[in-house]
Symmetry: C5
Subunit: 305 residues, 5 copies
């Protein structure tokens, strides 16, 4: 996602990169040309009674705004729920890493602890790759034992299998007599939360807003915009097409943003910064284990640290 | 539910399958004919003062939009809550399957573990069948011991009895000395969550939006649409009936979508893909137990995997 | 609450029972007569400048719609929260009944278990009677030991005392050595949830929407409707009074529905089907204890099973 | 808070006590006089072009309604969250009182149990007094041991210190060998919830809606109302000032209600009935301990029991 | 954040400090001059048909209000979520401090307990400094042992490392035989909640509302305001520019408030009073440990105590 430093209110009016304007420009130009054509044919259209009552436009425009507001709301909620799930991922992996330190009272366990932390980090990366349909091989090889990384290649729900491995690590600690059932439960609760996070992300990724909604609103927004010139043809001076394009811009841009936010795990400019977040989780878990950490590699423009 | 690959913005305008348009077409044609009739009788209607002030229409149309927005919101919330419950079903069955592995430290338990997993899968399918009022016999026979499957035939709340069986499986593991009370509690918590999921689904399925709301809005939407021609009869040129149908389409289509989403467990095109979800849960639970899994049978158009 | 089978879109327009129309009819007729009177006195009113700018009506009508939308939202939230609480009641009583089976490993406990289940069922009925201010004596006698049922007569917060009894049943099981502290905790958590449910229902029942809101909106809606004729008197042909009544119907009906839903535990047609829900909980708990159950007595029109 | 018995729809129109009308009357009269003055100076104003386009009023009025709707929502949410917190207070104190009975298996503990219950009741009253900035001395003396009540005088966060005392009571029970760590945890969880309730109430009481919002909306509402006459001066007959006052009433009254609900723990007529709720909690806790209870002292008009 | 004592409704109209007006004044003056210029050039503009249909303005203004309402909602939710997180911080630190008293039965532990409390207070301050990007050195030196405070200098995620230290304090108490696993779990749960709070605050601070939204709305609001004069040029008397500025003020001020609330942890006048809250938490924790506390240093204008 794109995050800019605050500029003053005046410069912000001419912001270019942070907006969906570039992508919408061709459509808006088309509308501008169309409106200008309507201005040219004004006498013909008025003569043949081919204009529309502007009252119909007010009525319909506001109706459209209400429905678009609904779509907007739903998309933003999905975006924010996705963000919350990744926030919970940060919290729970931190809690688990902390518990591996303060609940296991054994100095020899330090190397084993690194194994646990690496499993946690691998869990995060494998979730990221699953959500983006990218290849997790490189990251998993870097973090896991060769054999286990290899066996994961064929696995469809990788984060779940890594989660099982985390459970097994704790099982072993119990078998070694380092923890009792009660302490195992403390870990177990956080593992359950990780399971909820995986499922939550899968839910958002696999179930978009019902397609019918998207089609209905998309269609209505564009038909509406291209009918606007007929509504204002009577009063249409040479300045009006620009107003029409401005009105259309707001409707069309909101629909476009809502469409981008709908799938927050994608790679469009307004989607979540999964790369930075994964790297940040890796850093904070390493710091908890007294490892040295580097500054975030990924562009600091994309995430406020 | 119908999920399409993203097409470009222009093609999306002419989408046919993903919309409720086909089902609404007859009604909209009726409205078109009615509007055209009003155009024909324009002089007669104006003479007898049988037209309506357009201000009344703006006022009322926006009011209607606000109320329809409310209905829409509520329906979508039900849809999304249904989806969340099935997401939680995935998470909790996964957690239980993982716990049956990492909380029971006994190699001999492997065959018994398959029994547990099968109970979980049977639980999912029986819930699906209960919500859709379909016959669960085939699925239960495939997954459960013959005797138990047979005894379930007469049972009214099947998922609850399967849940009791899951509880008994854990009870036996405790009686066998494989787990203690504390560990039993860890299972128990997830069983409680499954109980909440069953009840949550039953709640949505058994309690629709108060019928009075539906009647009121349905009635208002249609009466409104069929009165629209009287509002625009004064300015009604030959182009206006098409505008009226376009406005009506938005209102009527939104009402239709809201009506479909209200019961998310049905089999209408916009309802939840329970079949795919049940199959997906089966797959991920089997994978957790190191079983080979097949690609999803159900049409991949209906669920993004 | 009234639940009808889906009829087709056309028949639904003429639905009578499922709507609040019957109750509102006298008021709407009054408004119709009033509007017709305004039509008759049109010349007099215009002469004395006793009509109102229609712009004021558009402005005010939409404002009213927004505020009514808020009232509607709040009322529906109360209705749905009430439903959720009764859904949670189902889930938690089922969980407790299941726990009484799978957490207590003793064959002799079977008759005692029935006692526990009966306490749970009595809890449900006593809550229903408290919320509806009806007499719980009959139900409690049917389910509880005579002596205890008798002692409950004088009690003001009956469900809470039954809850204490459930706690004491578990205390006895522990004293008998059937369960340990850990298992007692598992029961205890679900008892806490039952306590939350009682309090939640009492909260909704004892704290309506601030009365000032109701008065303000009620007053505004009716004054608005009876001023409508003055707004349209200029353009008021013989068809307009019917339009006015139609607009008024939507506002007035929404206010009436919101008013009914506000107290979801009442006995008005749109309130929750507490009778059926209590009976359903009784059935599912009995089935869990391998008892035979009968079909629901209460009219299946009122609850989808 | 004011709760009235339902009257019929007609009488409700003339409700006086349950509304904020009395408090607003002077301002509305001022507006009426102002409007009448505008009617008198109509020719002068029109001549000097000192009237305003009514379109600006429609636009702005609806905008204002949307923003006021937001303010309203937020205020009501605070009111309802406050109510939920006091509902949770009821639930958790009941749960703790029940646990003091069913988790401690010792007949001698009965007098000590009364001490515990009194601490719970004192907790409730001290929270009430803290939220209302009233003196808790009398209530604390009535309920607590003299010495402890005396020491609380100097304490700033009284409920928290009482909470610590509750924790110490349980600590003593454990030291006496009446409960083990596991049972202590069951109490501890409910104490944590009480801590959350105190903090939640403090949060609502200490952090009002950002003052800038209140100022902005207050200012806009009143300026808007006093500009209304200029918008309708052209069409302003002798009936219009009354319409203007009616429109203004709705806006101004909603702002006033929102302002009252914002701080739900105050003593204004629409605030929460903390007195009755505290008394009700005292009653139900005493009944749980088999004490006789009296009917609620506080006016039954204020709380539905 | 600025909190004022309630003034009467009339004085509130002229409030200056509590509003964003000062900051917006230059822009509004610019708009006023621009509007006056339009009034001067009225004949020229009308002649060349350079005015805009006012219907377009009504339509667009309401649309804008709906979208601005959405932005507003989201910003306020972030503000309130931030407040809730700091409220939870208060609750959980209080709970932990109480547990360090009532769960550890040892008189000698009193000095160690102060260490624990100081760690909690240091946790709060370090979170505050992290969120505000200020230097925590002074506060940490005051509260922690020199050596540990020194080692924290290099640490990036300070609150997390202090949290680990809290975990280690409990680990030590267990190693000393003061508590068992079960009691450790009770602490552990509250530590998990602290971890959630840190992550929640980081989430809000690091992920603003998608920048595209802000740009789109900012741009639309200002362009809209500067086009208003062209919409009212036809009816534009000398009074209208003031109306236009008044309308613009509402839109622009709401956008400005929403922009301030978006990042609730900043130091703008409407942001959260983190300083006072941190000081208040310190006070209440010290009081729990029977220390004397001073009145809040920070200006009581900023927080209601």
């Amino acid at each position: 996602m794109i995050i800019k430093k605050k500029t003053n209110w005046f410069k912000m009016l001419f912001e270019w990169n942070g907006s969906v304007l570039p992508q919408l420009l061709p459509r808006l130009l088309l509308l501008l040309l169309f409106s200008l054509a309507v201005v040219c044919f004004k006498p013909f259209l008025l003569e043949h009674n081919l204009h529309i009552n502007p009252a119909a436009f007010t009525l319909f425009g506001i109706t459209l705004a209400i429905f678009l507001g609904f779509r907007n709301n739903v998309s933003y909620d999905r975006f924010w729920e996705g963000r919350k799930l990744w926030g919970a991922l940060l919290n729970d992996t931190r809690s688990l890493a902390r518990q591996s330190i303060s609940l296991i009272n054994d100095k020899e366990y330090e190397t084993k602890r690194d194994e646990f932390t690496n499993l946690l980090i691998a869990f995060v990366y494998s979730l990221k790759h699953q959500l983006r349909h990218t290849d997790s091989e490189e990251d998993l090889k870097r973090l896991l034992e060769n054999e286990f990384a290899e066996s994961l290649k064929e696995v469809r729900y990788k984060p779940i299998i890594i989660l099982r491995e985390l459970g097994n690590w704790i099982k072993k600690a119990k078998a070694d007599g380092k923890i009792d059932s009660v302490t195992q439960l403390a870990f177990e609760e956080n593992l359950n939360k990780l399971s909820d996070i995986v499922g939550g992300c899968e839910r958002i990724a696999s179930t978009p807003i019902p397609y019918t909604y998207s089609v209905l609103l998309h269609r209505t927004v564009y038909i509406y915009c291209f009918m606007l010139p007929f509504g204002f043809v009577e009063t249409l001076g040479w300045i009006t097409p620009f107003i029409i394009v401005f009105i259309a811009y707001t409707f069309v841009a909101l629909e476009a943003i809502a469409d981008e936010l709908e799938d927050p795990f994608g790679k469009q400019p307004n989607d979540l910064a999964l790369d930075t977040m994964a790297e940040m989780i890796e850093n904070t878990l390493l710091e908890l284990n007294d490892k040295k950490i580097n500054p975030l590699k990924t562009n600091s423009d994309y995430y406020i640290t």
